[in-house]
């Protein structure tokens, strides 16, 4: 096989993949639950972007005279919290924190985890065992506990939440990517590329990574759901974003203390978390089925 033929072969494989991906969207739409998930995610993104337009009040304006109003009272859609802040507006703004943390923390974890996973899987040997030992060590900590421990050290704040949850996401990505790389590495297609004298970097970034993309995307989607729950959990424990920033977790934390006086704070903030996470999981399930029904993440 000449190198031109090999290149053509590779290009053809890529084109086949692209064709597959075109029908991916159709498959997702066909799967009604996944489509529902996608719509909710879309609405959520709209809400986060246009929060100032959607919110009926400023989320942080306090008015103690109007504290703990019920649903619909004095024009407050979901009532007010203990400081007289509008619960609805706080939930609308809270979507921003959830989305930012969800996406940024997973990106953080995915980039670092994938690099480590590729390095471990592709080069193997000592490097592999050192990296994976370290990942095993990180895996020994329950996800949320690792994030909690990191937050106690880093201190409250949006960036720190992203870093903490991002680090907790690293070992998972490293394992998934390493597994994929090991599989792809052995495939004939990579052997052809290597026999043509391609450089490591070229092989990894042009061939190995793109070919292991599907499971990584599915895993990342599911991880966003996990990161959103984790952010809410951290804020619920008082270790997340700094008050008075509205986050679903911190609204729930306040709501827990005023459960009797105004259960809406806790109910609706938590419901937002559940619906968001459920939608992402529905979408992720559909994505997995569409990309590869046999794939297990």
């Amino acid at each position: 096989m000449t190198s031109i033929q090999a290149e053509e072969e590779i290009v053809k494989t890529m084109e086949d993949k692209r064709k597959k991906e075109q029908s991916l969207f159709r498959k997702l739409i066909k799967n009604r639950l996944a489509a529902f998930g996608l719509i909710v995610i879309f609405l959520l993104i709209i809400t986060a972007i246009f929060a100032p337009l959607i919110a009926t009040h400023d989320p942080n304006t306090m008015d103690v005279t109007k504290a703990l109003l019920g649903v619909g009272e004095q024009g407050y859609l979901l009532g007010t919290d203990n400081f007289g802040r509008d619960i609805f507006s706080r939930i609308v703004y809270g979507s921003r924190i959830s989305l930012i943390v969800g996406i940024a923390a997973v990106l953080f974890g995915a980039v670092i985890g994938s690099l480590l996973g590729v390095a471990a899987g592709y080069f193997g040997g000592k490097l592999d065992s050192v990296i994976m030992r370290f990942m095993d060590g990180l895996f020994a900590f329950p996800f949320i506990l690792l994030a909690i421990t990191l937050m106690t050290v880093l201190g409250q704040g949006l960036i720190n939440v992203i870093i903490a949850i991002g680090i907790a996401n690293v070992p998972g990505f490293a394992r998934v990517v390493r597994g994929q790389v090991l599989g792809v590495k052995e495939s004939e297609f990579i052997e052809v590329t290597r026999s043509l004298g391609a450089k490591h970097r070229r092989i990894i970034f042009q061939h190995v990574l793109p070919n292991s993309l599907a499971p990584i995307i599915v895993y990342a989607t599911m991880s966003v759901a996990g990161a959103i729950i984790s952010e809410a959990a951290l804020s619920f424990l008082g270790l997340g974003v700094q008050p008075p920033t509205a986050s679903w977790g911190s609204i729930l934390k306040d709501g827990k203390d005023f459960l009797v006086l105004n259960p809406n704070m806790a109910t609706f903030s938590g419901l937002s978390i559940l619906i968001t996470v459920l939608s992402i999981n529905l979408f992720g399930d559909g994505l997995r089925d569409a990309l590869d029904p046999k794939m297990k993440v």
Binding site: P142, A232, G249, K256, T267, G270
Partner: protein, 321 residues
Amino acid sequence: MGKYIFSRLINMIPTLFVVAIIVFLITRMIPGDPASVMLGPQASREDVEALTEALGLNEPIHIQFLQYIGNLLKGHFGVSLSYNQPITDLIINRFPNTVILAVSALIIAFMIGVPAGIISASKQNSLIDYSITTISLIGVSMPIFWLGVMLVLYFSVNLGWFPATGMGSMADGFISYLKHLILPSITLATIPTATFARITRSSMLEVITQDYIKTARSKGISEFIVIFKHAFKNAFNPLLTVLGLQISSLLGGAVLTETIFSWPGMGLLIIDAIEKRDFVVVQSTVLFIALIFVIVNLVVDILYKVVNPKISYSTNKGGTK
């Protein structure tokens, strides 16, 4: 078998070592002077210096690390400043409470999740299958700290059936003890229940298309025996593999659950210690939980081999899982 357990034990050592390094590194990441952070802004300079000395923070970092490892090997976790108690005692007091909670949750998850998954798979594409699949998807998406709060709202505040917080003591009778246990264990059981249902379903669906299930049916045995004897035992392995991960998420979930219900376990200890800025307690407790997790995973792995006679006991066969 003994050889297998021994080699797994040897394999565990580097992981534990890495765990210790990670905890050490995290605590050294605290910005500023740990001693003054722990003592708070009102502390006198003498107190800070004394604590720095006591924690060995004056030593170079590698000496500190060696001291830390040395203490760990001796089982010496140090003394808590805020509790005025050896940390080992604190953990020994709290650990059983977390175990009770986690085991109750695991039992609930097993008793409900596994049968639900089996029923779902054996009635594939029926209404009951769709219901179970939907409920379990909601289950795995559940923010359990919210569920816990909602359970308190309905069953403690509104209905008054169960106490909202605390752990009953056996001295008040078994019923009171159980009443305290129910809401926290349901909260903690949610995600494992849903996960077990999902795994059991997909694993059963794979098994019931196998030839040996057709053989079993061709013998004229009842569908009940086909499903529960022939299919389920084969579908059990994937459940055991996720059990290890579930233990991890249970221990994590316990932190949240214990906080909501003021359940005096390890999780509440960590959160209390964080509020009291008692980092030594946080560090030791987190380390202890990681240790427990590694050991539990080892036990699960061994169980896996016991249940599955097909797997050889040699550890390095092929190198793939």
